[in-house]
Structures are given as structure tokens and as C-alpha cells.
Subunit: 464 residues, 2 copies
């Protein structure tokens, strides 16, 4: 077995295979668009999967992207929107026009149509809903009344429900004859007369039991019902934890109103992970497809926190101008304490935020986790403090200076461990998202303490 | 609809519902274990899903965890291991003993058994494989011969394959009679005489076509075959991109050797996202369950880079000791340039690394992305530089000082934008993982440039 990574040619091939569109195809398309050979463009796009058309749209330069979308407008396949990044989705939807879009949406399943409508701006949503026939519109509006990121927003309404007193044969007949079924489904839900789910039967089991068996005998009674208002991240945890494939969504009265399948969960996991990754680096959402000014503005808002942070740090340092004047070595060493505190604290925050997100950290094991992190912080603080303090003492031929640096580092790294565990727990407890605010808050404190403790100790012990 | 987050009681309830085990259950179990009421412990554990037993094991303190595992040893349900974090999995497996474990593994499907064996240390793997009957062992060893993180390691070998000339009735009969089928499957694979997959039939379709239809007529011919050596992250991209539910895995000769289902992909997406999150904060793997010394050691290795970084920065600053001596304001302001460069650069790196991981960034759009990032960097550099430079000029009543700070910030943030895009692209091109090394490399340069450009300009223009 060869490792593909080592051979760029193979990697290209694999990429082409995986991503469905080769570079040549995109280049050919670009030149066809530029030379207005629209027949050729249609020929190239015809065999492509909606996901691949989305890839092509993403790769094109903004100018010719619009030409391509114009070509796609008649008989637009709305599924393409589902595969586009949110920024591009809004742009392409605008170009297609809301009336055409409403027409295109009627061919999709309810959860796919909903996902596209959700991804639009509010004024676009209103315009699109107007173009959808009243019957379907009422259903979509009902689902849209549930909070964003709730289970109801993930579910599809096309489901297969049967009563438990039916036989296998009746169920198979029902499936064969019903018209409005989802294209792909894997599980039959068993409901009681009040439409409350009481069991599930994986499709495969229908083949493997005698036709006369009652559904009640073969169904799996361990149904995990998902409340319509449950947060999507909790739905994802549930699916992942139990390795589930499909689950019924229920309303306040426990009645089944739809189902969530594992492929919907894949998108959520992806979305939640992306959020966590972006928040760690102080970004709100991926701006890969946003134009320059929008990107610049979104990032500036976050850089504002860094600016406030640096101004605070500068204010702290300015309190010790005299001290630094007397001993410039302090200016050389002072960034060390702040940097080590900040970096070790971010390690603690990342582990804690992850454990909170996956519910591995709860009130049961909180004290144990805090104890452990404080111990680790103390150990690493002592190790790094002695090492860098020792180096500083040798470098500047000044043992007291080394001792001051060591002490300040141990203090700051211990603080980083405490705050790195407690801040996310407290922020989570208050109902906010620790992934966003815990990091910036922590580095502000490790900067302020890093500079003030080091310079303060130096003023007290080295200059008196 | 009430937002559960606002009401802690409801949240507790939901958590209990979602996570299957309530705090009371765990507390009761703890006290039963402590008072050696082992009958009671068994009663509590009996109705729990393997995933919930894993939760219980994770929450318990290390001392009583061992007692619980001892109780579980007779008739150990190996599935529990599948739901444990890797650290705990190795610990529990050791406590159970390799012979008992081999016995327990025989009841699992091939991909589940494999996942557990993979998660063990090498000496544990060898010991477990010895305890498994030769027939199954050969199969497991064959799969283990594929590279870690390859598609072959994710697949299960239990699949349903039929030739395309069969009828729907023959296929249904085959499914009804075969013994060795997976418990849950959603798709029938259609193969040619050489066992090369040529189509798929979703199970639901078997009900919805006449019994006499040929499989060839109803099958979906758009099969995405997955090479056995494909990297798991690419498999995840493929499933996500096309919203797939199951896909055949093929060997070098294109013959079907197993299948991957979307629930296997959920784990991979999760794993890949976790890796990216941890690497951003300079951690190798989650150490949430590792003991203190192990955690401390793993984190120290990464902090070493920060230490080298700070020593480099200190060396740079020490070159300007005279300059700082003459103008202490420089010491107050110098952390600003480094911090703003580092933070804006990390934003760029995060977006670039994500786009590389999801294959949204390729050679086709590379130049466009670089151009955009440089423009954003310039814009934000000018904005932040003028703002903070202006503030500094007012604070120290020194316009030239403000101009020097502005210039240094613009330079450093522009550099951060260039390096933040190019470093991940170059590192990725060389076949390494940009998520690991791009961040530390970038902040080293933004620190060094931040200090040297600011202090260098100050020396040139302010002190002459």
C-alpha cells in the first residue's frame, strides 16, 4: 500500500475522483463562459451532480460566476444551493430571483427546501415563501416558527408510520402503495392511536420476519424521541452517542411530527465543529467566500478585543516605566511571562470547552477536573519557570532576576490553569457560549497578571 | 416554545433524557460500589445501553472505576469500549484482560471489533488477536494491514451483494434467508461477475417495484466507489459532499470488499474536527481522561515551542536595550505590534487551513484567495495602525512615536496576512499537516518582526 500523499500525481487523481470535477473541466468551463459558448457550458454541466455544480460555482471568479448562474436560471435545480457556502448561497439566490427559486423549491423534500429558505436573508425568505402554494407554505412557516438550530428545523416531515397491531405484510403493502414517501428511508416508526412513537422497525427486518408477524412483536421498543425544541448540538450528541440512524421528532404532546436521519446530523456536527474552530481564532463565521470589505469588517470587530487587551497591557507596563528605566533587562524578559501564561491557558480552555460541548464535563466530575488542571498547571509552571528563570539568570548574570522571572511564571501559569477551567464552566453555566468569550477573557488576565506580577516583583525585590 | 437554556431545571431534565443516565443514578452507583453492594450495582447497570455504561465509567473516580470494571468482567459487553475515550479504553481493556476481551469481541460486527482492537496499544492488540479463532483472526489481520485512518479501517465486511440480472423477488428472498447479514443495512450493492460494484438499490425501493423487475432496471448506476486506501478525511468529505448513506469499498482490482455507512463517517468527522481544534491550541490529543503526569508531559512538549518563541523574542528585544533605555515608552508600546500581528494572522491561518481541509482551496483559486487576504490585511493594518498609533501619539504627546507604531503595525499585519495564507498552502503542499505547524511558525515571525520592526524604526527615526 503506497501512501498517496507522497505522490502528487496520485493525489490529484484522487482529488478529481473525490471531488467529481477536474481542474481541466473547470478551465474548459471558464473559457467556454468567457467566449460565450453557452451550448458547450450546458454540455459540461449536464452530467454533473448538484454538489459538483456547487463546487464549480465556488471555484469561478465572481464576474463569470454571474454568467453561469444566469445560464442555470431556467429549470434551476434548487439542490445546488444546499451545497453552497452561506455567503455564496445568498448571492446566487439573489441572482436567480425569488420567484424562480420558489418554483424550484417545490421539487425538494421538506427538510432540504427548509434548509435553503433558512440560509437566506429575511427579506429573501419572505419573498420566496410568497411564491410557494399555500398548503406547503403553511407547513414551512410552521417549522420556521421553531427556534433556529432546533431539532424541528433539522427534521423532514415525510415519514413512514404504522400502528403496532399491523402485520409485516400490511406494512409492506402500505409502503408499496403510498405516494408521498421519502426517496430514501431506513426505518418505519410504530405509533400508538395518539400518534405517539412506541417503537421502530429497521427496513431490513421487514424482509427477515414472516409476513404474518405483528409489528408489535418485531419492533425495537427502545425509541429515543427527540423534542422538537431540542438544540441541534444535543441532537448530534444523541445520534453520535447511540450510533443512531434515524429518530422520531415529537411535539409538546409527544406526538410524532417528523424524523431526523443521521445524514442531517453530519451537517450539524460539521457546523458545530466549524463554529468551535472559528471562535477559537476569534472569527464569527467562515468568510472564505465573503468580499474584501465584509471580511475586513467582520475580522476588525474581533480584533477590537485584541486592541483593548493590548491597551490594557500597555497601561500596566506604563505603571512601571521607572522600574524598566533602571533595569532594561526587564523589558527584554517581560513578554515571556505573559506569553507562557496565555498559551498554557489556551490549552486548558480548549480541553474544557470541548468537554463541556460533548457533555463529558458535568457537575459530577467538575471538582476532579479542576483539581487535575490546577496540578498540571503547577507542575508545568514550575518546570517552565525554573527552566526559563535559570536561563535568564545565566544570560544576565543575575540570580535574583531569574528568581523573580521564575516566580512570576509559576504564578501566571497556575492562574491560567485555574481560570482556564473555571471561566468556561462559569460562562457555560450562565447560558453563554464559552467557545467565544473564554479565550479572549483569559488572555486579557494572563497579559495583565503576566506584566504586573513580573514587573511588580522586580520593583519590590530587585530595585530596593 | 420555551428556550430550555433559560430554565436550569428543564436543562437538567433534557440532559438526563439525552445522556441516558441521571446524576442520581451515578450517585447511587457510587455509594453502592463504595459499600460493596454489588447486587445493587448490577441492578442499576442492567437496563443501561452500552453507551450509557461508558458514560458511567467515565464519570467515576479512578479508584472505584476499577471495582466497577471488575464487576463487569464476566460476560463483558465489548461494545462499551467503543464508546469510551481512547485513554479510558486502554485502561479498561487492561483491567478486563486480553483473554476475556477476545471472547467478548466475537459477538461484535467486524468494523466494531476492529475499532476496539485498533484503539488498543500494540502489545494489547497482539494478545487479543491470539485469543480470536483463526478464521476471524485472518480477516482482522488483513484489514489491520491497511494504513491507519484508511477507508479499509472504517468499513464493515458484512454486506449484501446481488448480481444485476436477479429480480426484485430473488433479492428479497436472498435477504430473508441469508444468516450472516448486518443487523442494520440500508442499501443492496449490485455487482458484476468480477465482483465489481455497478449499482446500488436503497432497501425502500425493493418494496416499491414489481417483484418481477430486474435489479438492473431499478438500480442507481451512480456508484461512488471508495478505494480501500483512501484517507478517512477524504471519505468524510465525499459522504458530506454528496449526502451519501452507504458506499462500497473496493480493492486494487476494483472488487467490492466491504462498505462504509454514514454512521461510521460521523465518528470520523468528529475525530478530524477534534484534531483541528486541539492542534490550533497546541495539543496533540484530548487529555481530558489522562492522569496528571501524562497530561503535563504532553502539554509541555507543545509549550516548548512557545518557550523557544519567547526566547527568540527576548533576543530581538535585547538588541535594542540602549534604545529602550533612552525611551521607555517603547517598552510600553512594543507588545502591541506583536499581539496585533499574531492575532490577525491566526484569523487568516484558521480560514486557510479550514478551506484546505475541506478542499475548497485548490490551485484554481489560490491566487484569488491570496490577493484577497493581502488586501484585507492591508485594510485592517491601516485601520488598527492609525487607531492605536493615534492613541499612542496622544498618550505620550509624541507624533513621531505614533507614526512609528502605525508603520510597524501596518507592516506586521500585512506580513501576517501574506504568511497566514502562504504558510498553510506551502506546508500542505509538502505533505504535512498545516493545522499543527502553521500557527506556531506564524506567531514566531509576527513576534520577531513585531518587536524588531517597531524598535528598529524607533532607533532609526526617533533617537537620531
Amino acid at each position: 500500500m503506497v501512501d498517496e500523499r507522497s505522490d502528487p500525481n496520485t493525489l490529484e487523481e484522487i482529488q478529481e475522483d473525490v471531488l467529481g470535477v477536474s481542474q481541466e473541466t473547470i478551465r474548459e468551463l471558464e473559457s467556454a463562459l468567457e467566449s460565450h459558448q453557452f451550448e458547450r457550458v450546458r454540455e459540461i454541466l449536464l452530467p454533473l451532480h448538484a454538489a459538483d455544480v456547487a463546487v464549480v460555482i465556488s471555484y469561478l471568479a465572481p464576474e463569470i460566476r454571474e454568467d453561469l448562474v444566469d445560464l442555470l436560471r431556467p429549470q434551476f435545480n434548487a439542490e445546488i444551493l444546499n451545497y453552497l457556502d452561506e455567503t455564496l448561497r445568498i448571492e446566487v439566490a439573489d441572482r436567480i430571483g425569488m420567484r424562480e427559486l420558489a418554483k424550484a423549491l417545490r421539487n425538494l423534500e421538506s427538510d432540504d427546501a427548509l434548509e435553503i429558505i433558512e440560509g437566506l436573508e429575511e427579506h429573501q425568505q419572505i419573498a420566496v415563501l410568497k411564491g410557494i402554494p399555500a398548503g406547503e407554505r403553511v407547513i414551512l412557516e410552521e417549522v420556521l416558527s421553531y427556534p433556529e438550530d432546533s431539532a424541528a428545523r433539522m427534521m423532514q416531515r415525510e415519514i413512514v408510520c404504522v400502528p403496532s397491531f399491523w402485520t409485516v405484510a400490511q406494512t409492506i403493502d402500505f409502503i408499496a402503495k403510498e405516494e408521498d414517501f421519502p426517496d430514501a428511508f431506513y426505518e418505519v416508526f410504530v405509533v400508538d392511536p395518539k400518534h405517539i412513537p412506541v417503537g421502530t422497525v429497521p427496513l431490513g427486518q421487514l424482509f427477515r420476519h414472516p409476513k404474518k408477524s405483528k409489528i408489535a412483536e418485531i419492533m425495537d421498543r427502545d425509541v429515543k424521541k427527540i423534542p422538537a425544541t431540542m438544540d441541534q448540538s444535543e441532537v448530534a450528541i444523541l445520534f453520535r452517542k447511540y450510533g443512531m440512524v434515524a429518530a422520531p421528532v415529537v411535539d409538546d404532546a409527544d406526538r410524532i411530527i417528523g424524523m431526523i436521519t443521521v445524514d442531517d446530523v453530519v451537517d450539524v456536527i460539521d457546523e458545530e465543529a466549524e463554529k468551535e474552530i472559528l471562535h477559537l481564532s476569534r472569527l464569527t463565521e467562515s468568510d472564505f467566500y465573503s468580499p474584501v470589505f465584509e471580511t475586513s469588517y467582520a475580522r476588525l470587530r474581533w480584533l477590537l478585543f485584541t486592541m483593548i487587551n493590548t491597551i490594557l497591557a500597555a497601561t500596566v507596563i506604563s505603571q512601571f516605566e521607572d522600574t524598566i528605566q533602571h533595569m532594561v533587562a526587564l523589558a527584554v524578559l517581560m513578554p515571556i511571562t505573559a506569553a507562557m501564561g496565555g498559551n498554557s491557558g489556551m490549552q486548558v480552555i480548549t480541553v474544557t470547552v470541548r468537554a463541556l460541548a460533548t457533555k463529558e464535563l458535568g457537575s459530577m466530575n467538575m471538582m476532579r477536573v479542576i483539581n487535575k488542571e490546577v496540578l498540571v498547571g503547577l507542575l508545568n509552571g514550575i518546570f517552565c519557570g525554573l527552566l526559563l528563570g535559570g536561563l535568564a539568570a545565566i544570560w544576565f548574570q543575575d540570580l535574583p532576576l531569574g528568581i523573580v522571572l521564575s516566580s512570576a511564571m509559576i504564578f501566571n501559569m497556575l492562574w491560567a490553569a485555574c481560570a482556564g477551567t473555571l471561566l468556561p464552566i462559569i460562562i457555560d453555566h450562565m447560558g453563554w457560549d464559552p467557545a467565544i468569550s473564554a479565550g479572549p477573557l483569559l488572555t486579557t488576565t494572563t497579559d495583565v497578571f503576566g506584566f504586573s506580577v513580573f514587573l511588580g516583583l522586580a520593583k519590590l525585590f530587585l530595585l530596593s
